[in-house]
């Protein structure tokens, strides 16, 4: 299992790949829709990739709240075993 620092850089790269950007172009607070052009289907692809990589389940009700990398870090921080 990754430690905290690792999972943040891994998730950033995962989001960058799906958004077709470089990790350097994505800040933790960039808004997925407005700043990065990530639509709802790309957001679901991000969620599916994170679930697969970290073997967690992200509840469907949480998905609309995922609007930035920081939102994902916060969510994964809660879901991953301490």
């Amino acid at each position: 299992m990754s430690d905290t620092g690792d999972y943040k850089s891994e998730i950033k790269k995962l989001v960058a790949d799906i958004a077709e950007k470089t990790p350097e172009e994505i800040t933790d607070d960039a808004k997925f829709s407005e700043d990065l052009g990530i639509d709802s289907m790309m957001a679901l692809e991000i969620v599916a990739s994170i679930e697969k990589k970290y073997k967690v389940i992200i509840p469907e009700a949480e998905i609309p709240n995922i609007r930035s990398l920081q939102n994902i870090y916060d969510l994964i921080g809660k879901l991953l075993p301490k």
Partner: protein, 158 residues
């Protein structure tokens, strides 16, 4: 081979019809694991062989992707039967595919779809299509599901 969904049941879920229905039978459904297995037989009577290619029939890759997308809808319906029963509109979002071998007249395509994530308005699945146990296509498919058809007319599909 006993199918668990025959063509009549398939047509209750899939909106596609001839000449664009590419699932003949559903062989297995595992709602818990989010896995379905479907079958498609290609015959000399299939219309696209007339032009693809004259004298050398090969199933077009886009047709196999469509068959896998239709199997994905069946997978969605197994997990979200309450939404599927309302006959929503399904649309493809993104496909990443690798084609491993040609598929031709007489081949029976076995399509296995497994969910990665299914929510009410979209899905991400992995799909493989095999002939005689040999890999023909593997794909990751993302699709959207819209209940309100007016949203399509307004161009607000996402």
């Amino acid at each position: 081979m006993e199918g668990i969904w025959d063509i009549n049941k398939i047509q209750e879920i899939l909106p596609q019809r001839y000449p664009f229905l590419f699932i003949d039978r559903v062989i297995s459904i595992d709602e818990k694991e989010g896995k379905v297995t479907c079958l498609k037989n290609f015959t000399a009577n299939d219309y696209f062989f007339t032009g693809h290619f004259p004298g050398k029939p090969v199933v077009p890759g886009v047709i196999m992707i469509e068959a896998m997308a239709q199997a994905s809808i069946i997978g969605y319906a197994a997990i979200k039967p309450e939404v599927a029963s309302k006959h929503p509109t399904y649309y493809l979002g993104k496909v990443e595919a690798k084609f491993k071998r040609p598929v031709s007249v007489g081949d029976q395509l076995i399509i296995e779809v497994k969910k990665e994530k299914i929510v009410n308005n979209a899905g991400v699945v992995t799909a493989v299509a095999k002939v005689n146990g040999e890999m023909a296509v593997e794909a990751k498919i993302m699709f959207g599901v819209i209940l309100d058809t007016q949203m399509i007319a307004d161009g607000k599909s996402r």
